[in-house]
Symmetry: D2
């Protein structure tokens, strides 16, 4: 059973929490705790050997913690997600395969696409696909339609798996801290459009990908994980796009695993990740 | 201040330890705990914001822990080491440079060489060098001489920085758990002699290095850290040796940092490393 | 257009070959040449800007090369493969997805499974699946049946995508140099069965995967590519299996890309790979 | 013997060059050729088995190449360098050690420091150190003094090994294509001052280093090589500086090796690197 806690820091937090667990005869087999001293903020992830009813334990933990504490006992082990895509298949197909073989750690409720290109692959995995085609003159209705679908499905997270439209602050604010994006560069380098083209022009010797939570500012949200692969002079911009798919797929998969295993804490514009 | 604890596991260990720290008004800013469930063994490393006298706190912690507990409060922040070498300079030079600029996290008491090749570089850094030349017919006296020098210096650790002689079980047992070796392959591949030659013959696409504690069985001791670098068909066996120096230096440096920062626990033939 | 050539070495090989290309007004935009001096063997891969009829050009190149030369002009850009599997889905699904979206660089003719577990996923991608169930008492017929299916499809390569049966030397010899396997360790470490279990017991700090051509000796064939990922004390043997899937999938995908792009030369027990 | 050639591209370049080598009975054991099709530019690096007098061979090669060709036959195998530093020791010490043990591939003629901090370590390796202290009000004389020292030593390359002053376009233009810098970020991210502080504030999950040739535009010159290491929430900005030293040292060492082995071609704002 996993327990995750986040609150303001104070001497005695670990003692208070572990005291509750010990009284319940719960054995801690893995514990990660981190205090952001600058922010005076406390983060903890505990793996307990036994299971226990979440409700009463949560109450007992809250009783020894400050009012701002976020306490999750045995957070839902299988998250629910909605995936949003455009035309590129690689991240979506990876998610669908893991979903199908039950190794994703989450259930894909549906896929929303602003093109119909990926409808077929969703059908092959019996996952509902909702086309919401983009009329550039009418972003308001475009987002309203997406919002309706998302709201109906009530997912834990929205995963932007190469969704190539920028969502408005209004939309983002409705799902704050719950939208995960894969950006095709090692941020903060090449934020915004056409990162591979710019990487090619700059002559970089590596390209990367960054998975992050989406905030109002484009490509500026809290980073979950990022990685790179080496490139060289033989790569055209198109070759970089192709090579980049591999790292995009891997980085998004890793980020989702970390989030779905309750290893990621967001506080202001950063993450604490207990890998 | 760092506190490291290792003992048999039981419900309530974290509560007991953190209770003592809380009572002393010590704030835990980083905590790593791991239980090896198979072995029923408990490992913990705590970073406390404040300092406190080690003696009384150790006593208070021992009072809440079983008799087999190993408790170290504020373990000596600067370790003392003796380095043993043969003829290759790269690992030694890296250690000497860090020692000289006080970034090693340890003090190099002296260097023992079974060749005199590296005497000069030690002199340039004002580090004593003791030549103990090897008479193959007389391993007993060879090791006795080394033992005398080591014992006189009373180091925390002996670092084999490309020391190309095999030490006898008798010698090793006298410094059990305190001898660190760098082996020039990704163990368990290519244990023993001439790993690069064998790697070349096998046509591997990566070569590596492994830092480990030395035990009676050659290249079989607990692994601290290991890494690899890619190679290809353009590498001769000699080219692999040359490329391997980079990774050997890096892996040994990383292992020493982990050990000197009290992040490495040894139990039976494995390590727990809180990176 | 790609041209690959392999033959015994002699002064003037590059001049002879490039002379032919120049006379045909073909511009070399990328050339990789390597001589294995110990074996006196010559390898070359040329990327020519223009296309040209393969037949006549091959003849002209053969005319300036020794009798043992292997010359391929514009080797079939889309290879044909048969995939063999047991029960694990990850490598197969990755291949099927790339095949489906035409980014594999090869056509999957069919899949042969010694269990029926993966029949369903093949059906979802409209790829024929042939179950050949293994009667341990009758390996001869088991392999004969596989051979019949393979021979009917006449693939360029047989890909063992986590096929967990050892093929007999007789079978292997019929498809010499054309069977590619993914082994779940960084060979030569942990050759044979249960590599993750043994990696766990040894306490290694990294696990890996190796793609290689299959020869008579188990896990001893020419290595195409291999990679590793870090692990630590928190990984159980099962956790290593799970983490290993990611690297197995990535390493096999990379090996197939290299082979399908005609970047891999095999000579005796090694490969030359022009990445 | 190494031969490197760079010129405008045209059909027949490889044939012309290899024809000359073949006529001289020179055997090509390794050849890398690349054409930048967009720029119509030709790059080649040849490793020839035998040695030959450079002068006559250069003439013969020039005779078959266009007037803009840069031809180097057997380029000076040991380059000469001047190193410029400020106060950080790690890159300089690595260079001095390799220089001392004759594995740098270059001779360190002298070190210029705008602080005297590193005078001592140079003395320990018998390398002349020239302090040129910076009067912020007088950059002109500061650079003039440096120029005098550099000019006297006539190095092939100037290596900025954590030299923390920005050199003026005037200075840079005098040594165009011959100044190599190590920047402590994965460019183009965090160009300019305080990259680690900004990396910390952004919450990146990796930090890096980039070795590049210096041009008039700060941190915008042709990139030779770059790499990253993972970081996480436990790293303070200071911790990133410390961890960054390892990657800075490694990246600069790798870049120097590539340059000194004549593997790096610069054309406009990019490099072709035949690794």
């Amino acid at each position: 059973m996993i327990i995750v806690i986040q609150c303001t820091d104070q001497v005695g937090r670990v003692a208070a929490i572990s005291g509750v667990l010990s009284a319940e005869k719960l054995n801690i087999v893995s514990l990660r705790e981190h205090v952001d001293v600058g922010q005076n903020h406390f983060y903890m992830r505990v793996h307990v050997e036994q299971d226990a009813p979440a409700g009463p334990l949560t109450e007992k933990l809250r009783a020894v913690l400050p009012a701002d504490a976020i306490v999750q006992v045995n957070p839902q082990p299988e998250k629910k997600i909605v995936v949003m895509v455009t035309r590129e298949y690689h991240c979506l197909a990876d998610i669908l395969v893991r979903h199908h073989f039950k190794t994703l750690g989450a259930q894909v409720l549906c896929v929303i696409g602003n093109h119909t290109t990926l409808q077929d692959i969703c059908g092959r995995f019996d996952v509902p696909f909702h086309p919401v085609l983009h009329d550039p003159a009418d972003k308001v209705n475009f987002e309203a339609e997406i919002e309706t679908i998302v709201t109906e499905h009530a997912p834990d997270y929205i995963v932007l798996a190469k969704f190539m439209r920028i969502l408005s602050p209004g939309f983002v604010s409705k799902f704050a801290g719950r939208i995960i994006n894969i950006h095709h560069s090692f941020l903060p380098a090449f934020a915004g459009a056409n990162p591979y083209k710019r990487a090619f022009e700059r002559g970089v010797k590596m390209i990367g990908a960054t998975a992050h939570f989406v905030t109002d500012e484009l490509d500026e949200g809290p980073i979950i994980t990022q990685q790179i692969i080496p490139v060289n002079h033989t790569y055209t911009a198109t070759g970089m796009v192709k090579a980049g798919r591999e790292i995009e797929t891997a980085v998004l998969a890793r980020a989702l695993q970390l989030v779905f295993e309750d290893r990621v804490f967001v506080y202001q514009n950063k993450t604490v990740v207990f890998e």
